[in-house]
Symmetry: C3
Subunit: 214 residues, 3 copies
């Protein structure tokens, strides 16, 4: 039975090859999933960089900022459904080495303005040069809702920081508690004067931080 | 024929294993090509970010810009061969929240300067704060070809925007039609005064947008 | 021996399939390693971009910079062990199209200040607009170690560039040789006045380049 014996050998051979294949395939499977993980990591870094670039494109270093909020109606609706209730501006600075700040806007209001007003808050952020600033933060802050027509009936609210408030102490976390105007402008007026303040469903909120004081 | 039957079984077994291998290999093939696609996507995002970073590195927010055009001779030759005829500067701004603009330079000329002059054009771009600007754009624009020697014989051309031109209306696309100086400087003079304007085969074009007017 | 012959055929078939598998597996192996290489390349570009973004976040265009050196004690120890002896600030500029410069700080001193002082040096870098600057660089440079308390006892050293020094000629490489204050402040004083200059193990070094002169 010569013939049969030869066959028997040939069958053993594939079995060994199978095992080698299996090993290789497992190896590539591991390689593939480690590559996938690496790509996910890179993706996170790329997204982080995108945010940093966007911040650089929109920031300012003179204590003034114009925060543009587009698609306002949709944002207000989202807020009414408690999906996304507030929007942060990019960080801006009183100077290249000054205070780091941003504003937070609630399209459908917050606190005692909730549902009835647009609320605007000022946020002191932890910055690289905080050790060189005076604390508590005591610069006058002005919010201006810009009239986009020639009438220039801008809506303004200003406040001086309350030195006893936690909002203005030197930050120990990324952001202090926001503080500002919960009843900045009523939704009724906003809806009535859409042509002035919500042209193309877009709102421009200017912040002025008085860099001369303090 | 006991022996033969056993062999027959062993052969069926590999066949099943083959099918399993084939399935796995196909799976990895799919995984590989989806990874490849992801990498290509990331690559596009990275390139886009690189451009944004380059723009940030070279932009300005005071209405002035110096556009550096290096390897001028090679660029002019490319233009003569109709390969690449013009170069855009990075976008620059009249202020952080001002007009967005750029310039477009034809090393071998364009329009009635084609082949005989260097042409320089000004481009009003669509910006985030266009709703807050006056339209049509009406600020005086000055082009200055910088003399790189102490002689300081800068070549200057200035214009006031034509309010009826489409070039200065509020942009509805990324860029308005470029407008400016098709016969800004003749190729003859450029070639004669290489030591002044094309030192190291490099040209510096300054743009001034008068931020006081308008 | 009909039965045996059939078996024989079935065995030849797997052998061919093996070879096809092997080929495929090799192909995927190659694909995998080329993907890996691509990811490594992308990673380099991402890291380069991260550096460019960090530079943009911390630079200035008015000839002044505050260089923050945190974890000073650890950095000094590293320097004492000859591991990492100096730190470069980000590049900064006298204007958007001005000189490109940076500073280099040795936490454990350099030259005749090595081991006894903190050394601070000024570096003229090759910039895009060097053809438009005056050479040698001749602007007055001031280093100020900031007192982080209200006492405001800042430590200041200033120098006027030596026009014959290679440090101030037009750069032909990325950086000229650093020049400045090897004995800027003694380690003894630094250690004694930690509360003023090394609050939270962090030091702030301000550089002023006089943009009015030259």
């Amino acid at each position: 039975c010569q013939e049969i014996e030869r066959n028997d050998e040939e069958i053993r051979e594939p079995k060994t090859t199978f095992r080698a294949f299996e090993k290789k395939i497992h190896e590539y499977k591991d390689n593939l999933s480690s590559l996938k993980k690496e790509i996910i990591m890179k993706d996170l870094i790329i997204k982080e960089q995108r945010l940093l670039i966007e911040n650089l494109r929109n920031t300012s270093y003179d204590g003034t900022l114009i925060f543009k909020l587009d698609k306002f109606e949709s944002k207000k609706r989202q807020a009414q459904m408690n999906k996304l209730t507030s929007y942060y501006s990019v960080p801006f600075y009183t100077s290249r080495t000054g205070y780091k700040m941003c504003i937070r806007v609630y399209p459908n209001g917050d606190g005692n303005g909730r549902g009835t007003h647009l609320s605007v808050f000022f946020v002191v952020m932890r910055g690289s040069f905080d050790a060189l600033q005076r604390w508590p933060f005591n610069k006058k802050v002005t919010f201006i809702l810009l009239d986009q027509t020639d009438r220039a009936e801008h809506v303004t609210d200003a406040f001086r920081p309350d030195p006893s408030s936690n909002s203005f102490k030197r930050p120990t976390t990324e952001m202090n508690i926001a503080s500002g105007s919960p009843v900045f402008i009523s939704q009724t007026i906003l809806a009535q004067k859409k042509d002035q303040y919500l042209k193309d469903d877009c709102l421009f909120l200017k912040v002025l931080v008085d860099t001369s004081s303090g």
